[in-house]
């Protein structure tokens, strides 16, 4: 991977969620109170409070047995509606996928990447639309057929209906995902070339900083002209250095550093070999530097450097040789006051290791990103990574079921489907774009300005001409963008759920940076959606078709 996962602070996330949830409840209450007065006069607020109390009672005395019954009903309904026919599509895809995925004998490792990506893409595009369709369809269809009357006249609470539906459709999604994942796993095993090792790297990432060619600290290296600057570059044969700090949890006999750097030549140089990189282990406090043997950049592949615990160094002045202990001499204790140390993810109870990387070829450059270099722990099996990646998809499925069932509580099927799909699509593919629009970083303005630029063939970086019309366009866009700023809090960032990316590239799915936030987002949406669904269903006129 070229990007390391961003650490997720669960406590911080929980506090933020509580604040937002409290705000949501408060806004909901204020709106309810404000609308109750014109509707019911002075007795309105009283009705709202009694309604809220009833809701509280409903949630306190929720019956698992009834929830289970509703969930089973939703599950059986889904099966009756031939949800499992998706397996026909799935089988068709997998029967013919081999045609499109010819393995390349010269690059078999790339083939595994494609196989994994295909399996998860197929599962995502088959499971999610089906589950969303079922979830959006359930309640509105019950209302239309009036079968919900039979249910609500029984001693079943509305929150039990909503929760039961959520659980039932989640169970359908779970069943489909488990079966498909099992078939997909077998399919990968069948198609992967025999000489490709299947495993999941377990990386420990560090924090990165740079020195420029004169040795001055910099936040980034140089852009050598890449459109997307995934890596920044350091100049060879100069003081330019990339510095990593790695947290070390315990002492071992040997450390493995794995790196994946990019080479960039400003002149042809020696074509018989690739550019060379040298790692140096550094302890600034003791003024100790241990250079490791230089190696050639095996570009876009991983290079392994093994560091044994005991390193021999030669004093440049006296030429005397001595031995240093990696853990006793080179590690510095974790310092919570140190800004660099504070950025580290992972357990640093044994200390922090500083590694300098330099390019040795004068005038040439190597490109690095924070995730390009890591300490590699003992690998996990491919199956473990596969299960974790599947859990990521499953969590996304649960989240969409929760949103879809909630939407179906207050709107009809088509609207609920469009609403849920839009949230899913924006959350998956356009969340970054949304943030850029809201933050004003996106060039080209809002919707009206974009239309104006399209019609007039105006580049998005060209300033708008100063006139009344363009001013009115900008004025029109402003509240829309601000509205979008509020809406964005409702839309989940589904990028956390892209767990298969890690597996496809041979990595274990990280718990802290990927799975935990995915779980947190799913559960964060669950309670507000349940509340919203419950109150919507209570207020909804069930006679309406």
């Amino acid at each position: 991977m070229t990007v390391q996962p961003v650490s997720f602070d669960l406590l911080d996330g929980l506090i933020q969620w509580l604040v937002v949830f409290a705000g949501f409840v408060a806004t909901f209450t204020v709106v309810a109170l404000a609308t109750s007065i014109p509707l019911y006069g002075v007795s309105g607020p009283k009705r709202v409070i009694s309604g809220a109390m009833r809701g509280l009672t409903d949630f306190v005395s929720i019956s698992p047995r009834r929830v289970y019954a509703i969930a089973m009903l939703a599950f059986k309904e889904s099966i009756r509606r031939k949800a499992l026919l998706v397996f026909v599509v799935f089988a068709g895809l997998f029967m013919f996928a081999g045609w499109f995925m010819e393995g390349d004998a010269a690059r078999p490792e790339l083939h595994l990447t494609n196989l994994v990506a295909f399996v998860f893409l197929a599962m995502t595009w088959i499971v999610l639309p089906v589950v969303v369709l079922l979830s959006c369809w359930g309640l509105p269809e019950d209302i239309r057929l009036r079968s919900l009357h039979t249910v609500v006249t029984k001693p079943v609470r509305r929150n039990e209906i909503v929760l039961g539906r959520m659980l039932g459709f989640s169970a359908v999604g779970t069943l489909i995902i488990v079966l498909m994942a099992a078939v997909g796993y077998g399919w990968i095993l069948r198609h992967v070339p025999k000489d490709v090792a299947m495993f999941c790297r377990v990386p420990v990432y560090g924090s990165i900083s740079f020195l420029d060619r004169n040795g001055n600290p910099q936040e980034q290296g140089i852009n050598v002209g890449d459109i997307v600057m995934t890596r920044s570059f350091i100049e060879g044969g100069s003081k330019a250095t990339a510095i990593w700090h790695f947290p070390i949890s315990h002492e071992v006999d040997e450390l493995k550093i794995e790196s994946r750097f990019e080479a960039f030549r400003t002149w042809k140089g020696n074509m018989d070999r690739s550019l060379r990189v040298r790692f140096t282990l550094v302890n600034d406090e003791k003024d100790l530097r241990v250079p490791l043997p230089a190696y050639e950049v095996n570009e876009f592949r991983y290079n392994e450097v093994l560091i044994s615990r005991h390193q021999e160094i030669t004093d440049e002045q006296t030429l005397k040789k001595s031995e240093v202990d990696l853990f006793k001499d080179l590690l510095v204790p974790f310092d919570p006051q140190n800004e660099v140390h504070r950025k580290l993810q992972g357990d640093a109870s044994a200390g922090v290791l500083t590694v300098h990387a330099q390019c040795l070829d004068r005038g040439q450059y190597i490109g690095l990103s924070p995730g390009d270099c890591f300490l590699r722990l003992t690998d996990r099996s491919f199956a473990v990574g596969y299960i974790k990646a599947t859990v990521g998809l499953w969590l996304e499925c649960l989240l969409l079921v929760v949103i879809a069932v909630t939407a179906s509580c207050f709107v009809k099927f088509p609207v609920a489907f469009i609403l849920t799909s839009s949230i899913g699509v924006v959350g998956s593919f356009a969340y970054g774009f949304l943030l850029e629009i809201v933050s004003g970083k996106q060039k080209g303005g809002g919707a009206a300005e974009s239309v104006y630029r399209l019609i007039t063939h105006m580049n998005e970086t060209t300033p708008l001409p100063e006139n009344l019309f363009t001013k009115s366009i900008v004025a029109f866009d402003k509240p829309l963008v601000e509205g979008l700023g509020i809406v964005r809090y409702v839309i989940p960032d589904l990028s956390h759920y892209g767990t298969s990316e890690w597996l496809a590239k041979g990595f274990d799915v990280p718990w802290n940076g990927v799975l935990l936030p995915a779980m947190a987002v799913t559960f964060a949406y669950f309670l507000p959606c349940l509340l919203l669904g419950y109150f919507s269903l209570r207020l909804r006129e069930l006679e309406a078709k």
């Binding site: 995925m101 459109i227 990019e262 030549r265």
Partner: protein
């Protein structure tokens, strides 16, 4: 609101469907496969204009299935895939990019520009992103193989065979890494996948890249006989097989610089033996080069030179003396062709294709009477002797080489101011002057190539720097 009841509405719909079916059947009925002219109007038109799937090239069931499954959404799907492809390229996700390239071409198997662009993208753009030369070569091969597949799927298109020839000829033979690429073409660096030393998909006969490229360019010409190409002036397009033969002869000369004793060290019992083998190999290479120049001259003048091209002034030929111009004018006098017009157009075409330069160069290089090939060899071997500390032997070789070169310039005055020839002549004299310095002698008042040496003194600083660099 309609006043029809349910049955009437259904009947009306059925009748409407039946009426609409008539033009659909007339237009779209497929051919039976037994008679090529059968089927509906569209099938007949396809057959008439060779637009049927089987007329275009090999049928790929995957592609046909996908196009069918996507119905009218193929364009949208391709657009999305192309955006993904660019995104993967920008993020250097090569596996994904390669897979997406396949997906795009599966959906657009008969879009020539798509094949051309994607092949070029792999061979030229992606290969340049990699640092190790074997990696770069891998991606050049990917581009070339991709283009080859395009020629199978589109069996009548001359542009794709030309594009394939360009990858195997120009990209392999003229890239910065040409020295490695040419060697890899015959001995693939991926010995694990290709234990026999060569990638059979691109070079089953283990021959030179230029000869493979020549075959592809010849295929392009064969296709172009039946179908017009749209990438360049026709004369330039038609010249490629013969031009590639000349590039091959030229490359053999260039290769000599990399035939060193190191190559024979393992199979030799002593350094002297390795040196002798290298010397013999260089000699053989120069001799082969001369033969190929001779072959090139014949092809250039008797094949390309005799081909007729339609110009606004009338049909012309590159190899045209006054008699030919007269004959052409006589033959086309009914169309209003004049000798003056034809001369003008012949001159224009000769300049565009650099016809006369290559004609003279090939002839000169192949000419045994002037000993041009021997001149190249002697100057190069003289340089090696000088650098290995044998100024006396070097002087003898260089003097002989300079004499041959002088004969060449005497015989072929057109080459007296030609850049490469002049540079090599001045280089030879410079090396000779160095041997004199080492032997403690001064330059005599007259020597072969003196006129060229005096005229092109401006080249000396650059050549002196080259000498100091040791190559």
């Amino acid at each position: 609101m309609t006043t029809f009841n349910s049955r009437q509405r259904k009947t009306t719909s059925v009748v409407g469907i039946l009426i609409l079916l008539i033009p659909i059947v007339l237009l779209g009925m497929p051919a039976s496969g037994r008679d090529s002219g059968g089927g509906g109007m569209l099938a007949k038109l396809r057959s008439e204009h060779d637009l049927g799937e089987s007329d275009l090239g090999q049928i790929d069931p995957t592609s046909a299935t996908m196009s069918f499954v996507l119905l009218g959404m193929r364009g949208i799907a391709v657009n999305m895939l192309r955006m993904d492809l660019d995104d993967y390229k920008d993020h250097k996700e090569w596996a994904r990019m390669r897979a997406t390239t396949e997906a795009v071409i599966t959906l657009q198997p008969h879009y020539i520009e798509v094949w051309r662009f994607l092949a070029w993208n792999l061979a030229f753009n992606v290969s340049a992103e990699w640092d190790a030369v074997p990696d770069r070569y891998y991606w050049v091969k990917e581009g070339g193989k991709f283009s080859q597949r395009g020629t199978q799927r589109n069996a009548t298109i001359p542009e794709l065979t030309w594009e394939t020839g360009r990858v195997w000829g120009q990209k392999i033979g003229m890239a910065d890494e040409w020295r490695y690429f040419r060697e890899y073409f015959k001995n693939d660096p991926d010995t694990k996948t290709f234990p026999n030393g060569v990638d059979p998909e691109i070079n089953p006969n283990q021959i030179d890249n230029y000869l493979v490229a020549k075959e592809w360019f010849q295929k392009s010409n064969d296709r172009e006989d039946n179908r017009e190409q749209h990438i360049m002036m026709r004369a330039l397009f038609r010249s490629q097989p013969m031009r590639t033969q000349l590039s091959y002869a030229d490359a053999l000369q260039r290769d000599v610089r990399f035939i060193t004793a190191d190559r024979f060290r393992q199979e030799s019992s002593s350094d002297e033996e390795a040196e002798a083998k290298a010397y013999a190999a260089r000699q053989a290479n120069f001799a082969l080069s001369r033969q190929e120049w001779a072959e090139g001259f014949t092809e250039w003048t008797t094949k390309f030179g005799q081909e007729e091209f339609q110009t606004p002034g009338g049909l012309i030929r590159m190899e045209a003396d006054e008699d030919v111009v007269h004959e052409l004018a006589e033959r086309q006098k009914d169309q209003g062709a004049t000798e003056a017009d034809l001369r003008q157009w012949i001159d224009h075409y000769q300049k565009t294709t650099n016809y006369n330069y290559w004609r003279t160069r090939a002839r000169a290089e192949a000419d045994e009477s002037t000993g041009t090939s021997e001149a190249h060899r002697l100057i190069y071997e003289g340089e090696l002797k000088l650098r290995s500390g044998n100024p006396e032997e070097a002087r003898q070789m260089l003097v002989r080489g300079m004499a041959n070169f002088a004969r060449l310039l005497e015989e072929y005055p057109d080459l007296r101011d030609e850049d490469l020839t002049v540079e090599e002549a001045v280089w030879g004299v410079l090396l000779w002057s160095k041997t004199l310095e080492l032997l403690g002698e001064s330059m005599p008042a007259t020597f072969p190539l003196k006129a060229t040496w005096d005229k092109y003194q401006g080249l000396l600083p650059e050549l002196q720097e080259r000498y100091n660099r040791g190559r």
